[in-house]
Symmetry: C2
Subunit: 287 residues, 2 copies
């Protein structure tokens, strides 16, 4: 089938285009934001040191504060460790824990997050040039990403329908057609497998509970991307764990393609319904 | 035209459905999260008071810290006010400034942010029940939102094509058809008007620079939603400025519909192209 090949080639070239675009984006974001980040990084490290010294002094000298603290701890039934945690959480700088966000791996992650419209917000451009480039980048990247995901989704649906047809034929069913219901079930099942597997993996690597990890995967693959849980932000994973970085990116990109396959079935059906109505109207108007 | 009415009725009923769904979501989120928030709120207020006292004591007693601070200020060329700002930013709790996030207006805002897949992350569910409901809510809400926005977008395109046709006829053009290029230009222009107007409004209300405000509008209407800038998070706007809340929500919902109109033209065209290829393949296979 030559025509079949044409669609595969189109999908493949979209994937290549998107990856090239992500690489370019990563390089530009790196060059735009890395320097500012490095400066801020140094600044925060010094600030952090000062605050640690401050806390030390405070604990030694400030008896009044300790009294107030004890009172607080008693009244709200917080354990002393909890109070310590609160202090640390307030003072601790999250970027400190996550490591640099705009070195190549981080910049690539950011470009992916923009192109897929997830927008965690764990790192955002701080320079005017960075913000400007983000907008231009999204302007081209988002349609490119949409078309690519839809294209892969459509190929996945096609692939699923071929498999379903074969399975039906093998089982000797009377009707060997893959109905839309069958396809929806198939993509739904594939989505569930990806989310549950992804949740297990992230739960292990990020130290989240399985439920929280599932919530993270769901929020990511629906492209909501709250940013309350963000992968690759612990133990400087972006610089130290290239394998895990690759795994996370593959999870996001493949997962989105599968979700796109479901949405392709659902929304495309509505859109074509609406378009067909419009066409019929025009024909009615002409007659 | 009876058929014309049918599509309008469908779009309108989708809008009504979506608003009802948002109202229900707001009510549930309010009941699930408000209590936990209120507790945390009280907790933070006490913590805040303690920290203010701590700072007062620190400033009076901790000469060593002052020396370190002065050294830091000199070395990094930070003004003393800047240092004060940093201290305040670290200690200040953002929710404190924004006011309660899960009272009805805030919960409605959150439901909108989920349904439109923006996901700023300015407030996220903290209870297990809240997270669970968010997932169920998104599962139905996102397809509903997608179909509604696409539906409004399609109606907008139809409306634009009618206007373009009339304008062409009035100007006595030879070809009175509204081409796809014309439509793209029209939706592109409408999008620009909405973003530039929106940027002006938010810049005024939120105290952002025009550029930052434009960046916010762009990031919102592309549904990236980083959350580095979030409207309605100042001066307890969610509780104190109902008019501004309504304006922001209308901006988001109408803006997204216009963007959906552009994407409808762009992506739908690619998707139907792909679908037509598939159909042709099948016909080829049958012959
Ligand atoms: K998003
Ligand atoms: K987001």
């Amino acid at each position: 089938h030559c025509a079949m090949k044409r669609q595969n080639v189109r999908t493949l070239s979209l994937v290549v285009c998107t990856f090239t675009y992500l690489l370019i984006g990563a390089a530009v974001f790196d060059s735009l934001e890395s320097q500012t980040e490095a400066k801020r990084w140094e600044f925060l490290q010094v600030l952090f040191t000062i605050l640690i010294i401050d806390i030390g002094i405070r604990i030694k000298l400030c008896f009044h504060a300790v009294a107030v603290k004890n009172n607080f701890v008693k009244k709200y039934n917080v354990s002393t460790e909890d109070y310590r945690m609160i202090e640390i959480v307030i003072i601790e700088n999250k970027p400190h824990k996550a490591g640099p966000q705009w070195k190549f791996a981080g910049a690539f992650y950011f470009a992916t997050v923009v192109l897929a419209m997830i927008g965690y917000g764990h790192s955002t451009p701080t320079t005017v040039a960075g913000k400007l480039f983000t907008m231009c980048y999204a302007m081209v990247g988002i349609p490119l990403g949409l078309v690519m995901f839809q294209s892969i989704g459509e190929r996945l649906n096609k692939f699923a329908s071929v498999i379903i047809r074969r399975a039906k034929r093998a089982s000797g069913a009377r009707c060997t057609d893959a109905t839309e219901m069958n396809l929806m079930l198939a993509t739904g099942m594939l989505s569930s497998i990806i989310i549950t597997t992804g949740a297990a993996v992230f739960s292990r690597y990020e130290g989240w509970s399985y439920f929280d990890s599932f919530y993270y995967c769901f929020v990511t693959l629906t492209t909501i991307g709250f940013g309350d849980y963000v992968a690759l932000q612990n133990d400087q994973a972006l610089t130290n764990k290239p394998g895990y970085v690759a795994l996370s990116l593959v999870f996001i990109l493949f997962g989105l393609a599968v979700v796109a396959a479901s949405i392709n079935l659902l929304v495309l059906r509505f859109m074509t319904m609406q378009a067909e109505d419009a066409k019929r109207d025009e024909q009615d108007a002409q007659n």
